[in-house]
Amino acid sequence: MKKIWGITFGGLHSKILSVLLVFLLAIIGFTSFISLYKSLTLKKIVEKSGVEQHDAIENVSGDTMYQVIEQSLTKMNDLRAEKLDDEFTEIEGYIKMLRDLAGELFENADTLQPATVPLPDPDNIDQLEVHLLYEEGVDYQHSEYVGIVGNMTDTMVSLVETNDKVESCYIGLADGTHVGVGNGGADKYDENGKQKPFRVRHRPWYVGALEKGDIFFTGVERDAFNNSMNITCSAPVIINGRTVAVVGIDIVLDNIDELIAEANSDTEFVFIVNNNGQIIAVPNNNSIFQLEDSDTAEDLRKSDNKELADFITQALNEKTNLETVTLNGKEYYLIGTPMKTLNWALISVVDKERTKAPTTHLLDEINRINADSTTAFRNGTSKLSKITIIGIILIILIGAISSLFVANRIVRPIESMTDNITGKSGNGAFEMKDLYRTGDEIEVLAKSFDKLSKDTVKYIENITEITKEKERIGTELSLATKIQVSMLPHIFPPFPHRHEIDIFASMEPAREVGGDFYDFFLIDEDHLGMVMADVSGKGIPAALFMMISKALLKSNSMLGQSPAEVLEKTNELLCANNQVDMFVTVWLGILEISTGKLSAANAGHEYPAIKRADGDFELYKDKHGFVIGGMEGSRYKEYTIELSKGDKLFLYTDGVPEATDAEEAMFGTDRLLEVLNENKDASPEQLLKNVRASVDRFVKEAEQFDDLTMMCIEYKGTEK
């Protein structure tokens, strides 16, 4: 673990930090994904709704515009047509009036004074006058017709004067004369001051009325004199099936011009088509239609533009709907209303593109707003992104710092504890500090450490104490072992000057000190005392009991008593203060060295093994008494064995036959006798070694369980 700025990398610091960062990143990733997805969806929705809005507005607005235009235009067109028609109807009234008046005059010609009509006066420029015109070569001065119609000139003058729509009125007479009321002027004269002839009967209005036989409107005609554009209304005067005259009124076109001019704008205009499908009125400088003479003007009903041709045809017959017609490659709304009087049609034209202007404007506006809001949205989004990124960085920073802080709060006590325990700070003994009182697991841990540390100190103290005690006891025990061993006769041969006997003995306690013991001593010059004993139990208590037993047995023996007496006496003494129910088994023998006579008594001890000079070792099943120290008043029987030269006596404690191997099989007395007899003539010392080796082989690695004590005496007899 590396440590930088007090932060341990790879430790809890970085683990907590990693966990927090992973957590934060997961949250950020998730929210980013959601917001990205949302913003994409939102963008799609906005775009889609923009398109839908656009289409909807276009459709609705288009429909609305169509309806608005249709309604207003239809109404307007109808009104205009009606207005014009009314004017023509009025003119028609006037012409009928003139026709009827002329008719009456002709019918009552007999009763009338012939009136005279003056020739035009060149000075009457732009002044109303009554004048007489005539065809070339016509004798106007003797015209009967002029005399007749000259009677109605007053009426005609008043018609022109009182009606501003009537520019002039006149009567063309079948004899080639012409009586007119209109502006005079030089235009009716040539450069020579001679009056120009007037081809009355060739004028279109005259011919038209004649051919039609009824009221006739000319197309737009050039005025015969001032070359202005006129429309003339005419009607034949028929007397007895013969047309005698044609009355005519020149209509002031100003009204129509006014109407047309009034209706003319950037987006719309009005034009009028006559019954021949020719345009008779259209705004000046119109890019689509031009006004032309009736003889050259195109019959629009036969136009190459089929839409237009069909429309014009229909418009001359009936009111049309608002129709879309392509003119000069551009779409226009057209609506037509027939004018009944003239069988003309008034047609309004609206630039379809221009009608879309409000829609286009609206759409532009909406697009602009959409674009603005998209930009604003984008700006907002990018601003939001920036804020979000800054926020994320801040969150991560704060998260990192706080997690490091938290980690530090967790780790610092732990580090301190570690240092404390490993001895980097302090002496290695744990000390409770305020730093550890965190109120969480760390405090628990610290308390545990505290307890552990204190326990350990106590334990170490205990161990030290125990070890000291043990060492002390060990020292004492080894001392005790030494004392015990030194208490037993351990110098061999013990009586170098006594050649009659050869003694060897050994004791190996299972623990440091044992309960077994052997002893031999000279009671006097001729008597050898021998003891083989086994105290119940082992260890210090057994050793202590052994010491007293040994001392008592020896001291009692030294008094010269018989073995049974010694045992009985010792038993009494040991029983007297025996609080622990300890006892000792004892075999005691006293050998009269000079004779080989052995007196012995057995207090609960193992049978001794005896080998006669020429025989094998055998167990001597002597009579047993009760163990010593077990019960007061025990009595012991004594027996005597005569030993001869070469006889051997082998004494042992139960540790030998009861030596146990790993399978808990016992060595047993049979094996003991066997090993003794294998080399029965060996010296006592060798015999003990043989037995010992055999026991070792038998038990193998099993622990020595009981004390192993053996003693062997060879009686060599007295010297000869």
Binding site: G515, D534, V535, S536, G537, K538, D581, M582, F583, T585, A603, G604, H605, E606, Y607, H624, G625, F626, V627, G630, M631, S634, D654, E658, E664, M666, F705, D706
Partner: protein, 98 residues
Amino acid sequence: MEYNVITSGSKMVIELEGRLDTTTSPKLDAFIRNSLEGINELCIAMEKLEYISSAGLRVLLAAQKIMANQGRMVITGCREEITEIFEITGFSDILTIE
């Protein structure tokens, strides 16, 4: 070593099993010293006892001493090895072996 105790009234039977030696006898010793109050007939059954050491004999001696004052103690079912040990140590003289 294990032992089973069956008590009925003032009669108690202790069944011994295994080896009664230095290591195992203190347990039985403690039991006997603490549990014999009010018992006037104690039977120690040795059918399953394999070995008894001098420490075990000491426990029997203690029990015998206690029971001598308040009733009687009987040893039953001794194996040959155990009987031999009793013989050798002279315990057969002071114990009632049946």
